[in-house]
């Protein structure tokens, strides 16, 4: 059966809207992996002080920080863009210029919250 296929990646002109849509899914999948880390952390607390300390050392190593910074970035993006999606679900903000404006709001909110979070962690 000849069905329409997705836009071909090699001849596709990238735009904010499509990139953001793909990023929503990518951040969602990364957050699922991040959730495994969260489970490990909670379990370590159940196993006692030394297991918790091991998890803490792992999470505050450079690779741990790298994962956590990535996690926070994915979290804020998925949260902000998720709220954008919920507005669309209510039938609001569908006009193209509104879609672009809310898109940039999501991008800047994500960057701002991520930077703010790590400023609080490292400086406070």
């Amino acid at each position: 059966m000849k069905r329409p296929i997705s836009p071909h990646l090699q001849i596709y002109r990238w735009q904010l809207t499509s990139v953001m849509s793909i990023l929503h899914r990518m951040t969602g999948v990364s957050l699922v992996f991040g959730t495994l880390l969260l489970s490990y952390w909670l379990l370590s607390a159940a196993f006692g002080a030394s297991a918790f300390q091991t998890a803490h050392d792992l999470l505050t190593s450079w690779i741990g920080y790298l994962l956590l910074i990535g996690w926070s970035l994915a979290f804020y993006y998925h949260l902000a863009n998720g709220i954008r999606h919920l507005f669309w679900d209510m039938g609001r903000g569908f006009e193209l210029r509104h879609v672009y404006r809310s898109g940039w709001v999501v991008v800047f909110t994500t960057i701002l919250l991520t930077v703010l979070t790590w400023v609080v962690v490292f400086l406070c």
């Binding site: 899914r25 969602g28 957050l31 959730t35 489970s39 379990l43 002080a49 998720g82 919920l86 609080v120």
Partner: protein
């Protein structure tokens, strides 16, 4: 039209859509609460963390967060698998595998919180 409406509200796809939105709406405040809580726990030692998690409101919020998070995560993964695995047999295999792993991980996480909250 009436028939169509009745049919669609009962369909699996529509229920999936609603469950995904419902868990999303719940996760907006609970997710923000979770991240802010993590930030307030930076620098806490084990005993301080346990004391914090043992407060009944915190235990309840944490379990509520975990339930919605795991449910929302599963619904999302389900869509991803359905989009990229077209072979129905393989799709069923991946969905069952994901469901088992995810259910196990979610259950362990909740039990871990209860262990800390109710433990000696």
């Amino acid at each position: 039209m009436k028939h169509l409406h009745q049919h669609s509200t009962g369909s699996e796809a529509v229920r999936h859509w609603w469950k995904q939105r419902l868990t999303a709406v719940i996760l907006v405040p609970l997710g923000i609460w979770f991240v802010v809580s993590l930030l307030t726990q930076v620098g806490s030692d084990y005993q301080q963390f346990v004391t914090w998690l043992r407060s009944p409101f915190i235990t309840a919020l944490m379990i509520g967060f975990l339930v919605s998070l795991f449910y929302h995560g599963y619904l999302g993964m389900q869509v991803v698998v359905e989009d990229y695995v077209s072979n129905l047999g393989r799709r069923a295999f991946w969905l069952i595998l994901l469901k088992l792993i995810w259910l196990g991980t979610g259950l362990l996480s909740i039990i871990a919180v209860l262990f800390v909250a109710l433990g000696a």
